[in-house]
Symmetry: C2
Subunit: 193 residues, 2 copies
């Protein structure tokens, strides 16, 4: 069975305060043009997306510096309080339930955060991707982003449905838009459970 | 081993004649803003993408009408001349090598096409997705699109690297951007071979 861990992309998808909002426009319709087509405008870090090292690290790797295998692997969902089941090369997802508030005015405030110490422990363990069901694992000035990205550990943000997988291990497919030199990209995330 | 069947998205990605071109803009940099971010503007049918029935059929299903399992399954790569190995529920990819010309001026002319008869045969066989390494399985007025989409068979266009998989069967992951009411969406396509 497959479970979709991706937030829908629409006019409501929340945008970090200060960033320009997305636009979705119907530029052709079957009735008038013979086919339907939309024109989309959005930031590379909208909705469920992945951060490359170059998002925060000057001269850091972009998404196309990683082989496609990087985005596929064994994932485990844990809480911020217990990472004892995490192993080398894991994709680690933290269940915080914060994206359940994605459409509330307070979404970008009071988000649960990883400590820098926890981020360093994940580096030590040698995980390959860290994700969570919140817009960020930290707050400005982004200490956790910097620790993880400096070690080429990718970060997946705005996941959903993690509560359904708490404590489980599964194959996970985190497939980003193939944007050249991407500092990040929206991705579709699917769990095989 | 995984093989990426996706075309890169950049300024050069070819756009169907008459459609507006994509724009990729660096709206923030680490040096100036503390993080790097791009702003992307493009059509829902740019690059390697999937067509939903609503792309050509008035009132047809959109991408979010399909369960996530639709986008994952057993795929086979065949030629336009021989579909004898194709089975019910297959993802069928036709190797034409036409996307090798993607950056040539003649790309949108003289594309290899499926016959309407072949499209009807695929409907009869009960395949779930038809894809190819060209921008379209047909030419205006799009008879093959209409036969397949009218039967809720999705179409994947602008694949690459199919020549490496000719005659092979493999699990394939065709994960589109989760655009609400999508008449189509860019997708990342990965073969497990």
């Amino acid at each position: 069975m497959y479970l979709d861990l991706t937030m829908p992309l629409d006019e409501k998808t929340p945008v970090y305060p200060g960033d320009p909002k997305q636009q979705i426009e119907q530029i052709a319709t079957v009735a008038k043009d013979g086919w339907a087509e939309k024109r989309l405008t959005f930031n590379s870090h909208l909705g469920t997306h992945i951060d490359a090292p170059s998002h925060m690290i000057e001269g850091g790797k972009t998404l196309d510096d990683f082989p496609i295998e990087t985005f596929i692997g064994e994932a485990i969902v844990v809480t911020l309080g217990d990472i004892s089941a995490v192993k080398k090369d894991d994709i680690v997802f933290f269940n915080t339930n914060h994206t359940k508030n994605a459409y509330d005015p307070g979404f970008f405030q009071n988000n649960p955060v990883l400590s820098t110490k926890l981020a360093e422990k994940l580096v030590e363990l040698g995980v390959k991707i860290v994700g969570l069901d919140s817009f960020s694992p930290d707050k400005e000035p982004w200490p956790v982003h910097k620790v993880l990205l400096a070690h080429d550990i990718l970060i997946v943000e705005n996941l959903v449905n993690l509560d359904q997988l708490l404590g489980k291990r599964f194959m996970c497919y985190i497939l980003p838009l193939k944007i050249k030199d991407g500092d990040g990209a929206p991705c579709r995330v699917v769990a095989n459970v």
